[in-house]
Symmetry: C2
Subunit: 212 residues, 2 copies
């Protein structure tokens, strides 16, 4: 776990390494830069008046965050793990056509992701949501590694409460459902922050999706 912040520069703006649980920006801050995760995990979230929280995304390597329609950030961003993060001034959008295309593509995808999350949150049981969360993490890992799905270990660097606030559940329910999936034999839980995928197809079915 790193605890110091490094800075560097390249043609694409600033590169910076943050320790875990470090805020990148706050909800309501004026948005002057666009961010991209180089390594580690960052989560974005929105707060309500009564301090409840909806986590809107867990971003890993290659993903953009911090895009805002107006001047102000509509969400906050915090590192979950130590993370390397690139940033560019928002004004680069006007001059850099390649970046603009990348961002535009990302925006479309973000709409889709958000709608998918919304479907998951509103149309499925707590069990399906937890399963879907694990499937998402596993899929992400598979995209980078080979397709040996079963036996794969995914890390859960975030707390149960973070997962709960992402899935719109209570901490307790997340815990219950994880252990349920474990007792069904679909996953293993070697420790609290690691899940082992035993039967990926079963997990997918549980998440209410067709097998890949």
């Amino acid at each position: 776990m790193q605890t110091d912040i490094h800075d560097a520069h390249n043609g694409f703006g600033t590169i910076r390494v943050y320790p875990d649980k470090t805020p990148i920006y706050h909800q309501g801050d004026s948005a002057t830069r666009i961010f991209r995760v180089n390594s580690g995990v960052v989560m974005t979230f929105r707060l309500l008046e009564d301090s409840r929280r909806q986590i809107t995304g867990f971003c890993t390597e290659g993903e953009f965050f911090g895009l805002s329609p107006h001047g102000d950030h509509m969400d906050g961003a915090v590192t979950v793990t130590s993370a390397g993060i690139q940033s560019v001034s928002i004004s680069a959008l006007e001059t850099d056509a390649g970046l603009r295309a990348q961002i535009m593509n990302h925006s479309f995808r973000k709409i889709e992701d958000t709608q998918n999350l919304m479907m998951t949150l509103t149309k499925t049981s707590s069990e399906a949501r937890v399963a879907a969360f694990l499937v998402m993490l596993a899929d992400r890992r598979l995209r980078r590694q080979g397709p040996n799905a079963d036996g794969l270990e995914v890390s859960l660097p975030m707390s149960r409460l973070d997962i709960a606030d992402y899935l719109g559940l209570s901490r307790e329910t997340v815990s219950r459902r994880l252990n349920e999936l474990k007792s069904l034999g679909l996953i293993g839980l070697p420790d609290t922050h690691t899940a082992q995928i035993n039967r990926f197809d079963g997990l997918r079915r549980c998440a209410g999706m067709m097998a890949a």
Copy 2:
């Protein structure tokens, strides 16, 4: 209620008038055009395997819909009322910088809207959701008309089931909560497809937002 379809052209692509309850495109269709509502109401929705439905938006005058990240539409679109709809080929995005900027702006806003909807759907009671729905419709109308909020009549051209599928509730619950808001004196229901806003601030408070 119109039942015939008219066509016209201008520099911005095709303009067409559709009767109510007419599909514009289907989920999964290849996306070749971008649409804009000129008049009337259009709703977009996503279907799940078990034929449940999430309505992702009600679009009125000036709003774009049908934007897709890949080749395929991730949602379907149907007219709620008779509606005039402009469309442009998606290839116009490459040549028309002004259109591109408009779409980009719309995309950011769409992410925000979708996240707002998600917050409403996951963090609030059925009463707050119905109130929020009415507030949204009233706000939309106020943006075009003067700011005489109280006494304003908003039309609900969509069915109770449509509202339910937008708010992630059952038809029955929508009906119950509407009548509850009526008996609280916040709204009136002169007929099933019209709501009269009696106390806009009260409705806002009920929706869990601060007064404007």
